[in-house]
C-alpha cells in the first residue's frame, strides 16, 4: 500500500523576518523615448543585452541596447537630476547588427569609454572617440573578433599589465544546422600584446562549454581574480561550471577536484556577485531554468586559504525563483540576467532577475515575471516584483539596474526578445539613504576594475568588488551604489587592485563621490561637469 501522502499544501520558505521596504517603479519606456526591440530567430534565442555607461562625461549613464538582427540602439541620457527619465536615440557608431550583448570598458585607459560588442559573427571592440561616438578598433588594437556566436564577456587587468585581458564566451557552432549539441566553440582569452597597447592572438580556453556568462572575480581574496564561467548544459557534453586560474604570465588553468572544485551542471545563463554576509568573500547567484543557485563558500578557514567549495543556499534564502509568483502560471521559470544592488537603500543587497521563456517552450512558463528579491535582515529574500511594479510578462533576457537620473534611486532597463525593451523609473519616496561613488586612478585601468570598495557603517563593512562582466550579456560602467539605511554618514575607502588601500574618508549620505588614489573622497554634484 502506498505510504506516501500527497496533500494540498504550499511549499513554504523559512519563516520571514521583518519585511523590507518596497521600492516603487513606474514604467516610462515610451515617455523616456525607448523603442528598441531585440529580434532574431534561432541564433538570437539567447542574448539581448544592455550596456550602461557615461560616454559624454556628464555623469548620467547612457545606454546601448542590443538589437539582434536589427542594429543596436544607442540612447543618450537627457535626464535632469532627479527629473523624469529622458533618452534620445542618437547615431553613435554603435548601430551595428547581429549584436547579442555589450560591455563598457575603458580599454585604452584614455578616460573615454570604449565598448565591446558581442555578436553573431565578428565581435568588435569599439573605441570611444568622445561625446558618444565610437569606431571599430579591432585592427588598431589587434583584437581578433572571431566569427562565432558570442554570449559572454569579462575583463580584468592582470598584475603588471597596462592593457586589459578580455575573456569572450562563445556558444554553439552556429554553422552546425542540424546537431549543435556538443558543438560548443572555444571561449577566448585576449591578453595584452607585447607592447601593452593592443591584444595578442587569443588563447582558446579549452575545454569550453557554451558560456552564457563570465566574471573575473577575486573569489578567494588572493589578490588575483579568477575567471568564473557559467555554462549552458543544453549544449555541452562532458561539461560543467568552470573556474579558471588566470595567473599573470602563466597559461590558464582550470580549478579541478584536486582544488576542491565541485562539479555543477546547470543551464547556466547569468552570474551575479555580492558579499551578502559581510565576510569579505563574494557570494554568487547563478541563473538557470526551473532552479537558480545562490552559492556561499562552505568554509572560510581562519588562515583565509579558502577552497572553491560552495553550498547552494538558494532554497534556504528564498531565491530559487523557480516559478512565477504572479500572472497565473505555475510552470517552471527561465532566468537570465541577474544583478545584486541595494534597490531599497536599506544597506542590504537585493537581487533583480530577468525572466523569459527561451522560445515558446511549453513546459516552462510563458508568462514569466521578472523577480525583484529584497533581502531581509536575516539573509532571506522577499519577492517584491509585483508590488514594486516590475513584474513584466515580456520575454526578458539582459538588463541593467542603474541610477539614470542621479537621484540615488536605482532604475531598471530590461531587454526583451521579440518585444520592446522596457525602462522603469524608481519613483519611491520613502527609501533609505545612499551614496554613489566612482573609483578612479591615474594610468591604466582608470576605473579600478578589480578594486574593492569598502563602506563602513557603524561596525558593518560592506565590501563591493568592482567587476567588468557577468550578468547576461549586459554590462555597467557607472556609479557604484550603496544603500545606507538610516545612516547619515559612512566611512569609505578603496582597496586598489595592486593591494594598496586608500585612507578612510567620511562621506555624507545622499551624495556622489569620486574616489581617487591617494586622495580623500571628492564630492561630485550632478550637473557640475
Amino acid at each position: 500500500m502506498m505510504r506516501l501522502t500527497v496533500v494540498l499544501a504550499i511549499l513554504a520558505f523559512p519563516a520571514v523576518a521583518d519585511e523590507p521596504a518596497i521600492p516603487r517603479f513606474t514604467e516610462v519606456t515610451e515617455s523616456a523615448g525607448i523603442d528598441s526591440v531585440f529580434s532574431g530567430e534561432w541564433e538570437y534565442m539567447v542574448g539581448g543585452g544592455a550596456a550602461v555607461f557615461d560616454c559624454d562625461a556628464d555623469g548620467f549613464p547612457d545606454m546601448l541596447l542590443a538589437g539582434g538582427t536589427e542594429p543596436a540602439r544607442f540612447y543618450r541620457n537627457r535626464s535632469t537630476p532627479s527629473g523624469d527619465l529622458v533618452f534620445e536615440s542618437q547615431q553613435s557608431g554603435l548601430e551595428i547588427d547581429a549584436v547579442t550583448g555589450a560591455y563598457p570598458i575603458d580599454i585604452d585607459s584614455d578616460g573615454v569609454m570604449d565598448i565591446v560588442l558581442l555578436r553573431v559573427g565578428e565581435n568588435i571592440a569599439m573605441r570611444g572617440l568622445g561625446n558618444c561616438h565610437f569606431e571599430s578598433a579591432n585592427a588598431a588594437w589587434g583584437f581578433d573578433g572571431g566569427d562565432g556566436w558570442s554570449t559572454a564577456f569579462a575583463a580584468t587587468w592582470e598584475a603588471g599589465s597596462d592593457w586589459p585581458t578580455l575573456a569572450i564566451g562563445n556558444y554553439v557552432d552556429r554553422n552546425e544546422p542540424m546537431m549543435p549539441w556538443g558543438s560548443c566553440t572555444d571561449n577566448w582569452l585576449h591578453r595584452p600584446g607585447d607592447a601593452d597597447d593592443g591584444f595578442a592572438a587569443p588563447i582558446p580556453l579549452t575545454p569550453s562549454y557554451c558560456a552564457l556568462s563570465m566574471l573575473f572575480t577575486d573569489w578567494n581574496r588572493s589578490g588575483t581574480p579568477a575567471l568564473r564561467v557559467s555554462n549552458d548544459r543544453e549544449y555541452y557534453k562532458g561539461g560543467q561550471e568552470q573556474l579558471w586560474r588566470i595567473e599573470p604570465g602563466a597559461a590558464p588553468e582550470l580549478f579541478g577536484p584536486e582544488d576542491g572544485w565541485q562539479r555543477l551542471r546547470i543551464w547556466g545563463m547569468g552570474i551575479a556577485n555580492a558579499d551578502l554576509d559581510f565576510d569579505g568573500y563574494p557570494e554568487f547567484f547563478l541563473t538557470s531554468m526551473a532552479d537558480n543557485k545562490l552559492q556561499v563558500l562552505s568554509a572560510v578557514p581562519e588562515d583565509g586559504d579558502v577552497l572553491p567549495v560552495y553550498s547552494d543556499v538558494a532554497y534556504a534564502r528564498g531565491v530559487t525563483a523557480h516559478r512565477p509568483y504572479t500572472g497565473g502560471e505555475i510552470k517552471p521559470s527561465t532566468a537570465w540576467h541577474a544583478q545584486f544592488e541595494d534597490i531599497n537603500n536599506d544597506g542590504l543587497a537585493d537581487l533583480f532577475v530577468a525572466k523569459g521563456n527561451v522560445w515558446e517552450m511549453p513546459d516552462f512558463a510563458l508568462l514569466d515575471p521578472n523577480n525583484l528579491l529584497l533581502q531581509r535582515a536575516d539573509g532571506t529574500f522577499y519577492e517584491a516584483g509585483e508590488e514594486a511594479g516590475v513584474a513584466s510578462m515580456l520575454t526578458a533576457r539582459g538588463g541593467a539596474v542603474a541610477d539614470f537620473n542621479l537621484d540615488g534611486l536605482l532604475d531598471l532597463v530590461v531587454v526583451n526578445r521579440h518585444d520592446r525593451a522596457q525602462l522603469w523609473q524608481n519613483t519611491s519616496t520613502d527609501l533609505g539613504n545612499w551614496i554613489q561613488v566612482r573609483a578612479q586612478q591615474p594610468g591604466s585601468n582608470r576605473d579600478g576594475v578589480g578594486a574593492w570598495i569598502e563602506l563602513k557603517i557603524d561596525d558593518r563593512v560592506i565590501q563591493r568588488e568592482l567587476t567588468s562582466g557577468g550578468g547576461h550579456v549586459s554590462g555597467i560602467n557607472s556609479w557604484w551604489h550603496f544603500g545606507l539605511g538610516d545612516a547619515e554618514t559612512a566611512q569609505i575607502r578603496v582597496l586598489w587592485p595592486d593591494g594598496e588601500h586608500s585612507d578612510w574618508s567620511e562621506v555624507a549620505a545622499n551624495g556622489f563621490y569620486v574616489l581617487e588614489r591617494d586622495e580623500l573622497a571628492i564630492a561630485w554634484v550632478p550637473g557640475s561637469s
Binding site: 505510504r3 532552479d291 517552450m361
Partner: protein, 446 residues
C-alpha cells in the same frame, strides 16, 4: 566471439551519412527501400536519443515511454508490408488493429517509415526546445526530399500518407495510457512528507524536487505485462536503526562503498549515472547499446524494428513496474539515513534521484533490457558500449548483456544512491517483466 559493436560515429556524422546514402541509393523501384527504411529507423533513434537528453520533461520513465511507442510505430510500419510479420495489435494492451495498406498498391518502405516516425517524433517531442524543433524539422524535410528522389510521386504520396496513418494510430493509443501529460517536469505541485524515518524525504534543495518524481507512473497502462503490479517484489529489509540489523548493515555497505571506492568502481558509477538532461537517460543508454549491436550486425529492417519494439516496450514496462513498487514502499534514500544516523557529512558520488529508493530503477530496467536482448542476441554477445564517448567517458566492454546489466545495477551502490536489496530485487523484477515481452509473437509461423 569477437565484439560485435564498434565505436560509432557521432550523431552529426550519422546525419551526413544517411542523407548521402539515401541520396545515392534512392530506390528505383517502389517495392524496394527496405535497407533505407532500416537506416531511417536507426537515424530517427539516434536523433531521439538527443531529444531525450534535451527535452526537460524527459526523466527516465518518460523517456522509456517514448522509446516504446516509437519502437512500436516503426515495427507496425514495417509489419504492415509483410504478411509474415505479425502485428502487435491485440498483443500489447489496448492496441487496436492498425491501418491496412491498399491492396495491390506500391509503397516505398523508407518513405513510409520516415513519415511514421516523423509524426511520432513530433507527437512525443513536440515540447522540446528550439534546437530540438530545428533538428526535427531538418530531419523531416531533408530526409524526406532525399528519400523521394527518383520515386514516382503517387508512391511517395501514398507511402507518406500511410506512414502518417500508422504514426497517428500509435499516437492516439499512447494518449490514453496515463503518461501523456507531464506537468512541472514530473513533480507534483503540492506534496507533504510524512513524519516517518523509514520514508522518503527530499534529498536536495532544488525547489521543484521537494516532491517526488511522477508518483502516479506505476498506474500507467503497461505494454506487454498486465499491469504495474504484475512483477511485484518482496518488501525491502525491515527499517531499523539498530546496528547489526539488516537495514543498518545495508546502509553501512553503501557508506563504505563510497568511502572506500576504487577508481574502477567510481568509473562504473559515473558510466551508468545516465543523469536526465545530461545523458540519454538509463533507457536511452540501452537503446544506444541496441542500436550499436544492430548496426554492428548489419541487421535488416525486420530484425531492427523487432528488437527496438521489444526493447522499448520492456523498458517502459519496467519503469511502470518499478514505480509501482517504489511508491508502494516509499523507502528512504541512503543519504538521508546515513547523514542522520551515521555521518552527517557523508555524500554519495552520484546525484541522488528525487524519488523513493526501492527498488533501483536502473536495476529493474537494465535487468529487463538484458532479458530481452539476450533472448534475441544470445547470452554470450560481447560488445563495446560507447554511449558516453562524446561526454568523455571511456568505452566499456562486456561479455554479455547480463554482465552489463549487473554492472549497471551495482553502479548505484558504488554511487551511493541505492541499497543492495534495491539492486538485487530490481534485477529480478526486470527479468520477470522481460518474460512478458519475450512472449510477444512477431513472426507468423510458416
Amino acid at each position: 566471439m569477437g565484439e560485435r559493436s564498434r565505436t560509432r560515429p557521432g550523431v552529426r556524422s550519422w546525419i551526413v551519412g544517411i542523407t548521402l546514402v539515401l541520396t545515392l541509393s534512392a530506390p528505383a523501384s517502389a517495392q524496394l527501400g527496405h535497407d533505407d527504411a532500416r537506416d531511417v529507423v536507426i537515424g530517427w533513434n539516434r536523433l531521439i536519443l538527443e531529444l531525450v537528453r534535451h527535452t526537460p520533461t524527459y526523466s527516465p520513465p518518460v523517456a522509456s515511454r517514448a522509446f516504446a511507442y516509437l519502437g512500436v510505430t516503426a515495427f507496425e510500419a514495417a509489419a504492415s508490408g509483410d504478411p509474415s510479420v505479425r502485428s502487435l495489435a491485440g498483443q500489447l494492451n489496448e492496441l487496436g488493429p492498425l491501418p491496412q495498406r491498399e491492396a495491390g498498391a506500391d509503397y516505398d518502405e523508407a518513405i513510409l517509415m520516415h513519415a511514421a516516425l516523423g509524426l511520432g517524433a513530433n507527437e512525443f517531442f513536440g515540447n522540446t526546445g528550439p534546437t530540438g524543433q530545428r533538428a526535427m524539422d531538418f530531419m523531416v524535410s531533408r530526409t524526406a526530399s532525399d528519400l523521394a528522389s527518383g520515386v514516382p510521386p503517387d508512391i511517395v504520396a501514398r507511402s507518406e500518407a500511410f506512414g502518417a496513418a500508422v504514426g497517428a494510430h500509435i499516437a492516439e493509443w499512447a494518449r490514453t495510457d496515463g503518461g501523456a501529460v507531464v506537468e512541472n517536469l514530473g513533480f507534483p505541485y503540492d506534496f507533504e512528507t510524512v513524519e516517518d524515518p523509514a520514508l522518503w524525504v527530499p534529498t536536495n534543495r532544488i525547489a521543484v524536487q521537494q516532491a517526488p518524481l511522477l508518483p502516479g507512473w506505476g498506474r500507467n497502462r503497461t505494454f506487454a505485462m498486465p499491469d504495474g503490479a504484475t512483477c511485484s517484489i518482496p518488501p525491502p529489509p525491515e527499517y531499523s536503526e539498530a546496528p547489526g540489523s539488516a537495514f543498518y548493515t545495508e546502509a553501512m555497505e553503501v557508506r563504505d562503498a563510497v568511502v572506500n571506492r576504487t577508481s574502477e568502481q567510481e568509473a562504473i558509477a559515473r558510466f551508468w549515472s545516465d543523469d536526465p538532461m545530461l545523458s540519454p537517460t538509463p533507457p536511452g543508454h540501452w537503446i544506444s547499446i541496441a542500436l550499436d549491436a544492430l548496426e554492428g550486425d548489419e541487421a535488416d529492417l525486420y530484425e531492427t524494428v523487432d528488437v527496438l519494439a521489444r526493447l522499448g516496450t520492456v523498458l517502459a514496462d519496467s519503469f511502470i513496474g518499478c514505480w509501482d513498487a517504489k511508491y508502494r514502499y516509499n523507502l528512504v534514500r541512503p543519504v538521508t539515513y546515513i547523514n542522520r544516523l551515521v555521518d552527517p557529512g557523508w555524500q554519495p558520488i552520484l546525484i541522488t534521484p528525487p524519488f523513493p529508493e526501492y527498488p533501483s530503477g536502473h536495476s529493474t530496467q537494465s535487468g529487463a533490457a538484458a532479458g530481452v536482448l539476450e533472448h534475441h542476441f544470445g547470452d554470450n554477445y560481447t560488445f563495446a558500449d560507447a554511449t558516453h564517448e562524446a561526454d568523455g567517458l571511456a568505452v566499456r566492454h562486456y561479455e554479455s548483456f547480463w554482465e552489463a546489466a549487473e554492472e549497471a545495477a551495482i553502479s548505484r551502490l558504488y554511487g551511493g544512491i541505492h541499497f543492495r536489496s534495491a539492486i538485487e530485487e530490481g534485477l529480478a523484477q526486470g527479468l520477470c517483466i522481460a518474460k512478458y515481452t519475450n512472449a510477444l509473437v512477431t513472426w507468423v509461423a510458416p
